[in-house]
Symmetry: C2
Subunit: 143 residues, 2 copies
DNA sequence: TCTCAGATGAAATCGAGTTGCAATGATGGG
DNA sequence: CCCATCATTGCAACTCGATTTCATCTGAGA
């Protein structure tokens, strides 16, 4: 999506209590400019040219994940992918997510699209709605 | 679920054109006795006591998958899991699964516990029920 | 500027998954 | 029942992403 200025990236990091180091700004900048989830290898390919180490990129991805700026998911291909959490994508409550197994895109589903029933044999967590729902399939573009 | 006799397991393998070897019968027997998806490591732990090698167990899991007796899925925890395809167990091969974020255990959910609604804005895949649903939370033991 | 907890780079390690190969054994035909 | 054949096994090695170790460096507050 839109590329933020270095000052904006730095401010966002500091707001989370993270130091604004060169590699960390670069990683956050890459994820901000990306349109979808990115793997560690993809970011490494894009950033090693600037001299950053793959372990540093990895740790920064984990730092951003721990700080809540980024989400880490496995789209089923056995590789972790990192995606910037965007305010536009309304992280409201724990609404369900749709993961396209074709293109890897993640979409927020309307709260009403998934209805949970605490039928016999289901964990009690379903009754309290204290669960996170993931629906995997092919998006309209990949179907 | 129900444990099949060695003869029944052997017959099921032969019907798929697979040789009924000791390790293969044991792997199919484990998956038949299991009530949910099992990882390669879990089957290895259960079967190395009988002297079977982890590579053999792995290749048998792949053989059973290729033969269509077993499904291989990644429920998002970065480990492949194998589950017997049961004629009885809800014809729908895409029944929902519950993943405990505390202990990592995986359980099959009753088909009726999750109801999908193809509301406006949801991918068409939801309408065709051609999706895989994962519910994450804490199991009764970890709550 | 000074200081040091936090961060980096380089290399090692981990672990699930996968494969190569020589020895073994299940199966079908004689 | 025996044998030949080829699928399968046991073992070790290997792949590769993920993760950690540790000595050195640096960002940010004092
Ligand atoms: Mn995975
Ligand atoms: Mn299941
Ligand atoms: Zn898609
Ligand atoms: Zn649990």
């Amino acid at each position: 999506m839109s590329a933020l200025s270095v000052q904006q990236l730095r401010a966002r990091l500091r707001a989370c209590g993270l130091r604004a180091t060169l590699p960390r700004i670069a990683v956050l900048g890459q994820l901000t400019a990306a349109e979808g989830p990115r793997s560690h290898a993809e970011l490494t390919d894009a950033l090693t040219a600037r001299g950053f180490d793959r372990a540093t990129i990895y740790r920064n991805l984990m730092d951003l994940t721990d700080a809540g700026l980024v989400s880490r998911t496995d789209l089923g291909d056995h590789r972790w992918r990192f995606e910037l959490k965007r305010a536009s994508h309304a992280q409201d409550p724990c609404h369900p997510h749709f993961i396209c197994e074709g293109c890897g895109s993640i979409a927020c589903l309307p709260e009403a699209s998934v209805e949970l029933h605490a039928v016999r044999g289901a964990p009690r967590a379903l009754r309290h709605k204290s669960v996170q729902v993931q629906v995997r399939g092919l998006c309209n573009g990949c179907a």
